[in-house]
C-alpha cells in the first residue's frame, strides 16, 4: 500500500507530505511523490530531502503542459505499480479534473477544496466549503480508497527528512484522444500573484471605468501587494484577465481591501481566508459590510485617494 502525492507546484509538496503522514499514521504504507513535466523534473532536488520513500518522475514532452488525459496515464501507472489507495493533490481546477478522472478509474471517494483533514474513528474526515462558501460540509470517506484535494496553507510544511530515491519513468501515451494545441500562460502584470499576496486591493462595480483601476494599482504598490477585480469587471467588461471569487482566484492575504464591491457570495467565498477585510462602499446596506472587519461608508473615489495620501506620508 502507498500514498501518492502530486502537485503541479513543487513548493506545495512540503504541505502535502504532512497530509500524507496523517494518512500513513492511520493506514500505514509508503509516501511516494509523483513529479510530472520538464519544469518540475528539472527542480526535483527541491523535494529530495523531505522523507518521501520514492520520487517518481514522468518527464516526457507530452507532459510539459497540463493535459488531463496524459496526466491521468502517469498517475494511473503509479497507482498500479505502488498499489496506491490514497492520492493527495493540491486543490486547484486542473487537479479537480485529474482527481475526478483518477477517482473514477479506481472507484475512490473524492473530496476537493479541503480546508481541514482529520481521522475520526479510523475514517478520513474532510471539511470543505459548499453553497458558495456560505457553509462548511463535513465529508467522510466510506471506502478504502480516496483522492483528496487539499487547499494550500492547511498543513504545516514538512521541512526535512531522509533522502529520497528519484526514479525516472517513461510511459506509453499512445491512443489518447485529447490533444493540447496551445497553451497561453497567465500574464502577471504587477509581478505579485493574487493567491500569494499578503495585501490585496480589490475593485468592484463601484469602479466606473477601466482607467480608474490605477487607484487600486497605486494603493497595491504602496502596500507591496496585488490588485484584482470582481467577476463582472473581468468577465463582462474585460478589464482584467482573472477575478477574485470562487469561480476565479481564491485569496488569503493578511489584508484585503474591497473598494466598490457589493459582496456577492461568488466573491465573498473567495476572500473568506483573508485575515483582515476592509470594505469601502457608499451604500451602507451593501452585503460586503457583513464580511468586513472594518467598513468605510463612503465614495471610493474620495476614500482611496485620501488613504493613498495618508499612507504615502507615513
Amino acid at each position: 500500500m502507498s500514498v501518492l502525492i502530486y502537485s503541479d507546484k513543487l513548493d506545495l509538496y512540503k504541505e502535502l507530505i504532512s497530509s500524507g503522514e496523517l494518512i500513513k499514521e492511520q493506514y500505514g504504507g509508503d509516501i511516494i511523490g509523483i513529479v510530472i513535466g520538464a519544469d518540475n523534473a528539472g527542480e526535483v532536488d527541491k523535494i529530495k530531502n523531505l522523507g518521501l520513500s520514492k520520487i517518481i518522475v514522468y518527464n516526457l514532452p507530452e507532459l510539459n503542459n497540463y493535459n488531463p488525459m496524459t496526466y491521468l496515464r502517469a498517475i494511473q501507472e503509479a497507482i498500479n505499480e505502488f498499489k496506491a489507495r490514497y492520492v493527495l493533490m493540491n486543490a486547484n481546477y486542473k487537479n479537480k479534473i485529474l482527481g475526478g478522472l483518477v477517482a473514477s478509474k479506481i472507484n475512490a471517494g473524492l473530496v476537493v477544496d479541503i480546508s481541514k483533514l482529520t481521522i475520526e474513528d479510523g475514517k478520513i474526515v474532510a471539511e470543505k466549503p459548499v453553497y458558495s462558501g456560505k457553509a462548511l460540509a463535513k465529508e467522510e470517506i466510506s471506502g478504502d480508497k480516496a483522492v483528496l484535494l487539499i487547499k494550500p496553507g492547511i498543513f504545516k510544511p514538512k521541512e526535512e527528512g531522509s533522502q529520497s530515491e528519484v526514479i525516472e519513468k517513461t510511459i506509453d501515451l499512445s491512443g489518447l484522444n485529447l490533444e493540447l494545441t496551445e497553451f497561453i500562460p497567465k500574464s502577471v502584470e504587477e509581478g505579485i500573484k493574487l493567491d500569494e499576496a499578503d495585501v490585496v486591493i480589490g475593485g468592484g462595480r463601484g469602479i466606473r471605468q477601466k482607467e480608474d483601476l490605477e487607484l487600486l494599482k497605486e494603493l497595491a504598490n504602496i502596500l507591496g501587494g496585488a490588485w484584482g477585480v470582481t467577476r463582472p469587471l473581468a468577465a463582462d467588461y474585460g478589464w482584467a484577465s482573472e477575478w477574485i471569487g470562487i469561480s476565479g482566484v481564491s485569496i488569503r492575504p493578511k489584508l484585503y481591501i474591497a473598494a466598490g464591491v457589493s459582496g456577492q457570495p461568488q466573491h465573498t467565498s473567495g476572500i473568506r481566508e483573508s485575515k483582515i477585510i476592509v470594505a469601502i462602499n457608499k451604500d451602507s446596506e451593501a452585503p460586503i459590510f457583513k464580511f468586513a472587519d472594518y467598513g468605510v461608508i463612503g465614495d471610493l473615489y474620495q476614500v482611496l485617494p485620501k488613504l493613498i495620501e495618508k499612507l504615502k506620508k507615513s
Binding site: K105, P265, Q302, L307
Partner: protein
Amino acid sequence: MVINMVKILVGVKYSLQVENLSIDPKNRSILLDETPKKMGDMDKRALEEAIRIKEKHGGEVVVLCVGPKEANKILLEAYAMGADEAYLVPFEGFYDTSFIANVFSKFYETKGPFDLIILGGASTDSFSGTLGARIAGLLNIPVVPFVSKLDLENGAIIGESALDDGKYKYKCNTPAVVTVTLEINEPRIPKLKDILRAKRKKINEISVSDLGLGEISNLVITRDVKAYEEKRKQIILDASEPSKLDEVIDKLVNYLKEEGVL
C-alpha cells in the same frame, strides 16, 4: 468529415439558490426544503451551448436531471429553451458524485451513444467541479474541462479551457465530455409561447433500477453541513459626509496598524 446531426446529452442540476440559503438560527444547519432551487447557472450555459450547436449543425439535445420530482420544473424550462427530450431520474436523499456519474454513464449506454456530453463546469451549490471528469473516466472518453469557447470543426471538438495558470486549447474527436464556465455564452430567455408549448411536453422518467444500477454505496458520505458564522468585527466608519473623511482615514489606518497588517 463535417459533423452533422450531433447528439448531445446535457446534465442539469436542481440546485439550491445559494443567495437565498435558509439557515436554522438554532444550530446553523441548512434548511434544504425551505431554500428555493433553480437550474444551475453553469448547467444553463451547458444547455444553451448544446442548443446553439444543434441550431448550427442539426441534431438532438437530450437533458438529464437526477433529483426530486419538483425538478420537473427545470426540465420544463429546458424544453422551453429548446431541448428535444428531457429525462428525470427521480432520486431523493444523499448521493455523492460517483453515484451521479454512474447514472450518467448508464444513461449514455442505455439511451446513447451521444457525440457530446455537456455539463456545467461546477454546480451552483456544491461547486466541486468533478462530475464531468468522473463520467469521462467511466466511459473512457476524453474530457475538455471548464471551457469558455467551444467549436466543432471538421469532426473535431475544439475547446478553450481557462485553468489555474493560463488558457489551454484542446482538441479531440467525439465522443467527449465538455464542461463549461459562465463565460461561454449568455443563455436565452424563453419566449412566452415557448414556455406554454413546453408545458405540454412529456418529462420522461427513468429509475435508477431501469438503468441497471442496483444498490450503489456512496464513496463519500456527508456527515453534516453547517452555515459559517460570520465572525468579522464589522466595525463601521461613516465617511458619507466628506468632512468626516480625514478623521475616518486616520482611524482606519490606526486600526490596521493595531491589527499588524500595515
